[in-house]
């Protein structure tokens, strides 16, 4: 399972899992899960189109992902952009279907773009994935604080000079780059599972932002490793295991949170009497004492 061609698979899949876990943390925090679904579909259409005209699928994938991410950001400038995202999604799916119908001989390559080809990764791909991965992680590390602030409290961020729309555009470009590195490995349909399933599960387990980010990476890597091993043993598609495990972790997280809430509720009630009434004395001499 760890010999020869499999080494590339483990290395590339781990890199994809780490980056998807990091970027996915902000995807879920910003409520942009839908974008993380639309951009890979655009990448898929781009890759299908590129293979049709005989240029690098990687280039087609990257171009379509970045352009669609920027378009979603520009058109959805005023507040929520779910309608624009949905439109981009169906437009790109339609385009992908058209390219698909023209190129039947590439059916297996197309299948790989949708569901991933983790066991057939080349050396070139390892390098490209590594470069994009480093770029994405660096971007998130640099943007961490303003992105967190503008995700949680956009008005307060604006007041501090953090332009929310600029943050949104940076973030969408990062999502496009993650897409470009991930789609050839886990596929357009399953990338979503890593980008949303892992961070969605992580935030049920911890209240700390950096803790949730780290756990998101951990869960994402676990999903990918288990999926590859299981796929190797059973010969079932990797994608099946990635999709199922994403859902399993998410549901487990919710269950854990519910269980902890019921436990924490009891602690809360026990703590109540210790907090006495507060008293404020103001300069006007007013003494407010809540009853």
């Amino acid at each position: 399972m760890f010999a020869g061609f499999m080494v590339h698979a483990w290395v590339v899949a781990t890199m994809v899992a780490v980056v998807a876990g990091v970027v996915g943390f902000f995807t879920v925090l910003r409520g942009s899960a839908f974008v993380a679904h639309a951009v890979p579909q655009a990448g898929f259409a781009g890759a299908a189109g590129a293979s049709l005209i005989g240029i690098s699928t990687f280039a087609g994938l990257g171009t379509f992902a970045v352009v669609s991410a920027l378009a979603i950001g520009m058109l959805g400038k005023r507040g929520r952009h779910d309608a624009v995202t949905a439109l981009a999604l169906v437009f790109m799916l339609g385009l992908g279907a058209l390219f698909l119908s023209w190129s039947e001989e590439y059916a297996s390559a197309i299948y790989a773009l949708l569901f991933g080809e983790v066991l057939g990764v080349s050396t070139n791909q390892v390098l490209a994935t590594a470069v994009l991965g480093v770029v994405c992680i660096s971007a998130v590390v640099i943007l961490y604080r303003p992105l967190l602030l503008s995700s949680v409290m956009p008005e307060a961020a604006e007041a501090r000079g953090v332009r929310s729309h600029r943050m949104e555009m940076y973030f969408l470009v990062v999502v496009a780059l993650v897409t470009t590195m991930s789609v050839p490995v886990v596929g357009a349909l399953l990338m979503f599972s890593l980008m949303v399933g892992a961070p969605g599960a992580a935030r049920s387990f911890t209240d700390k932002p950096l803790g949730a980010l780290g756990l998101s990476v951990g869960i994402s890597v676990a999903i990918v490793w288990i999926a590859i091993a299981a796929s190797y043993e059973t010969d079932w598609p990797v994608g099946f295991f990635v999709g199922v495990l994403g859902a399993v972790f998410f549901v487990t997280g919710r269950g854990w949170a519910a269980w902890r809430r019921s436990g924490a509720g009891r602690v809360e009630r026990a703590r109540q009497p210790a907090t006495g009434p507060m008293r404020f004395t103001t300069a006007t001499g007013m003494n407010t004492e809540p009853t």
């Binding site: 967190l148 007041a159 803790g211």
Partner: protein, 283 residues
């Protein structure tokens, strides 16, 4: 309550001079002018759509006045400013956000800077001290989405205060609080203004909760503003001029009731009495 002389002894932190603002072809603010002084608590009072949030946005530099000036300690407002603390109106928090009250407060230190902050003892002490100052230790490690309205408001005040601003702006901090939390938050804000000599501007649609602690009031109605002490501003002649039609100001024990709605049912009763009163000068 307090004489105007006492105000003038305090350094001016912010001054708006004749600020007008046009947005999408509408004049949202018209000739708004007032000043805020260190250690003073000012109420920005007005009904829905009066222009309170817009005034905050102008002060923060998020809207540029069509005419008029905003002066920060006598100077034009610097572009990016940690000297202003801001608590926005009703932030809609996702209850599942993995962020504790203390993380929210820490974001107030340098949330606009690039990079991941390294945890340090200094940072932690700064956050702990701030949490203590707003009486928030009990829920410091609680997820922000699980906080009660009053607890969230205190956390947000700590977030805005930790960068040691000279001016603290709070947009409707009392909305959705019960009377007890309302009193706690108002008392806390008054204490902050006095002890740290910060100019505090609080918007509200109801002035009564602020009456005991408010040094000045800026009354806003359809984009126009009148400012001064409560006695100077909350009078029938001043408010009638501001609204452009007659307004009743009723004093009920310690409370003030401003009846400004032209077509409210209970107003008809009051309007009949109005004819018995001598005409008042508008100004």
């Amino acid at each position: 309550m307090t004489s105007p002389d006492r105000f003038d002894a305090r350094p001016e932190v912010l001054r708006l001079e004749g600020v007008s603002l046009w947005l999408s072809g509408r004049e949202i603010l018209h000739d708004v002018g007032f000043s805020l002084r260190a250690g003073e608590l000012t109420g920005l009072i007005g009904s829905n759509g009066a222009g309170k949030t817009t005034i905050f946005r102008v002060i923060l530099g998020l809207e540029t006045p069509s005419s008029g000036r905003v002066l920060f300690a006598g100077h034009p407002r610097p572009h990016r400013n940690r000297l202003i603390g801001y608590v926005p109106q009703s932030i809609g928090l996702d209850p599942d956000v993995p962020l504790r009250a203390r993380d929210l407060v820490a974001l107030g230190i340098d949330g606009d800077r690039f990079g991941i902050p390294l945890p340090s003892r200094g940072r932690r002490r700064l956050v702990d001290d701030m949490l203590e100052a707003v009486d928030a230790q009990a829920f410091a490690d609680t997820r922000v989405g699980k906080l009660s309205g009053g607890e969230l408001q205190r956390s947000l005040i700590a977030h805005a205060l930790i960068s040691q601003p000279r001016l603290l702006l709070l947009d409707e901090p009392l909305a959705s609080l019960d009377i007890r939390s309302e009193q706690e938050v108002v008392g806390l804000l008054a204490r902050i203004a006095r002890e740290q000599q910060i100019a505090v501007l609080i918007s509200a649609h109801e002035m009564n909760p602020l009456l005991p602690v408010m040094d000045r009031v800026v009354y806003v109605a359809s984009g126009r503003a009148a400012s001064g002490s409560t006695e100077e501003v909350v009078r029938e002649d001043v408010l009638s001029a501001l609204y452009g039609h007659h307004v009743d100001v009723l004093h009920l024990q310690d409370r003030i009731l401003v009846v400004a709605g032209k077509d409210e049912g209970h107003h008809l009763e009051l309007e009949r009495e109005q004819h018995a009163l001598p005409p008042r000068g508008l100004g």
